[in-house]
Symmetry: C2
Subunit: 368 residues, 2 copies
């Protein structure tokens, strides 16, 4: 954990960006946080990319009242993997999200009203294009590394292919070159849950459509865990309050999904959830190229990949496809398949397993 309270900052780019869809999104505001200091040679900057429902609050606390530190606090701070005594760590909230960056809940300056569904569909590439403006504005020409898991890993892949001269390395965890139809299906039913909520009103809600969004999040949680971790955490235990023969009686796992689903409603905008689900589903590292191979031929930086054995959302074979492709292209690539019971969430929960290897990788990259 960083030693002092951290401050969330924002930066606005009036001219915005031209999106992959051809539409212009302007202005663009990004919220971000930084930890540590940029060195004189500007060679110690690390960009950390968050996942679907994450934010810029990577580590530390904003004030004494915050009960929990940032989402990847365990690896950021003096002496940690991302050592804030040595590195300048940056985390930015993506466009399309609802934590200070421009998204569907932002006011469209042209109308004075929330974008809602008039917000354009955005891609992971668009998110990175916006981040590039931020990184440039911080005076960083070349990031020492860009690191992320899940949707964060997709962003790291986009840096590697779209801005090959702007990164010295990338660390990609628990991600995929393009979600499988099974992963798309699970997002599809989550979207459907929100569409079904009559209070959603095609995005023109006053209050978050809570039942639909909670269910959508509940579906998400199933994909973040694994058969193994659910067995370990809940087994088939029935909720203590309920009888087995009560129609509304719940298993503990059911109660967990419910509880976490409804908690989510207080912190995440339903339209943002939908837009980011869409960004995930349409993600394809080869978008705009003939093949993954053509896209990866652009890569210059060494990439370190991690996959987790029980991750069934973005299974290891999908990471392995990328690793093979990069190897065939003679790119510098390192791959670790980590045994874990934690499913997709392992990248957030089991940092001890990969921390030493990422540390070594960063040391080697610094010597290049």
């Amino acid at each position: 954990m960083p030693e002092n309270y951290v401050v969330e900052k924002t930066r606005t780019f009036e001219s915005g960006i031209r999106l992959e869809s051809g539409r212009l999104l302007a202005p663009i505001t990004l919220s971000y946080e930084t930890y540590g200091s940029l060195n004189a040679s500007k060679s110690n900057a690390i960009l950390v990319e968050h996942a679907w429902t994450g934010d810029a609050h990577l580590a530390g606390k904003h004030n004494e009242y915050e009960t929990k530190p940032g989402w990847w606090d365990a690896i950021v701070g003096p002496g940690c993997l991302l050592d804030t005594d040595r590195y300048f760590v940056v985390c930015s909230n993506v466009i399309g999200s609802c934590f200070g960056s421009t998204g569907p809940a932002s006011i469209n300056p042209k109308t004075g009203k929330r974008y809602n569904l008039s917000f354009p569909v955005i891609t992971i590439r668009d998110m990175v294009r916006a981040q590039k403006l931020l990184v440039d504005s911080l005076g960083v020409d070349k990031l020492l590394t860009v690191m992320g898991g899940s949707m964060g890993g997709m962003q790291a892949l986009e840096w590697a292919t779209q801005y090959p001269d702007s990164i010295a390395s990338a660390v990609v965890l628990a991600t995929t070159p393009r979600p499988s139809p099974q992963a798309i299906s699970l997002n599809a039913v989550a979207r459907w849950a929100i569409f079904n909520d009559p209070t959603w009103r095609k995005g023109e809600y006053k209050h978050n459509p809570k039942d639909g969004l909670a269910l959508a999040r509940g579906i998400g949680h199933i994909t973040f865990l694994s058969d193994e971790s659910m067995n370990a955490k809940f087994g088939r235990r029935f909720s203590a309050k309920d009888g087995k023969f009560d129609f509304f009686g719940q298993f503990e796992v059911e109660r967990y999904l419910n509880y976490n689903g409804y908690n989510f409603v207080d912190r995440f905008d339903a339209n943002s959830f939908l837009y980011l689900a869409k960004s995930l589903d349409i993600y394809d590292v080869a978008w705009g190229y003939e093949s993954m191979s053509e896209a990866f031929s652009l890569v210059k930086a060494p990439i370190q990949f991690y996959a987790f054995s029980s991750d069934w959302l973005y299974p290891a074979y999908q990471t392995e496809e990328m690793v093979m492709c990069l190897k065939t292209l003679d790119k510098e690539v390192e791959y670790h398949l980590l045994t874990s019971a934690y499913g997709h969430d392992a990248f957030l929960l089991e940092h001890e397993t990969f921390t030493p290897m990422v540390r070594d990788f960063l040391e080697r990259v610094k010597k290049l």
Copy 2:
């Protein structure tokens, strides 16, 4: 396919049954179909058990207007695996369902109104207890075999443990001794989708709550398929009608779930869906015993098990646990793990793979 049109019959048992919950369900009506004839020694009867949303219409057609034959038509008929020239094949719709058997949409004779949520929670064991009445009433003392996949396999397991003297064998496909928390979770979010539908009205609807039920069925379809079969069937193809950057644009797999979800609304009662989902989730072959081993110590008939490699709803390791347990108890058991890309649905789609082995098994059983 049987050679003549088949007739759906019903039989009512006025005194009903005492349920596992302690409640009495009476009267009980079961709808059923039979194919072929019972022989003089009454030794050629085979009971086929249907899955979650199945019915008694196992094979053949009711009339010339029916576009599709019964759900397992491929294995029933003269010369087929379940050879109607040799066997007397019976299929009965389970209690709790909505195809002619007593379920939540039935009229409660005490009130003159539909049961809806006043219907008792029922177990797989209750379904089999009701079927036992039917089998007895048909004059069959001992079934040559009881066969089923998924929920049908659970019923076959209950015959094997609860009525060990009433079956000469069992064939159990794609099932589990008790669903894992992951399988429960997927039913839990399906239930939640129906609960969220304002037209469900705690079960007191005039018309099926279509959006919630369609979504619930969409979730189910994900679990019936596999990553592999979805890749083969849909890949990441986008619907021809939609643009990738349309907010409501759909992948083909998404459109498939939607289409099948809404089709389901016309043929299945939402409350039945909920009650049967509950029966599946609370199923445990060891219910009422100290252990699976104690339950299986009751088994007398040989059992043949099939699991399918890509079935992630009831994965092979769960069948293997039963096989190991029965072997340890020196019971006669045979196990086949079939390689298949079709996921849980493989038991319905790939009958060619197991037909010869089931045929051999039945021949051996007849000689016992």
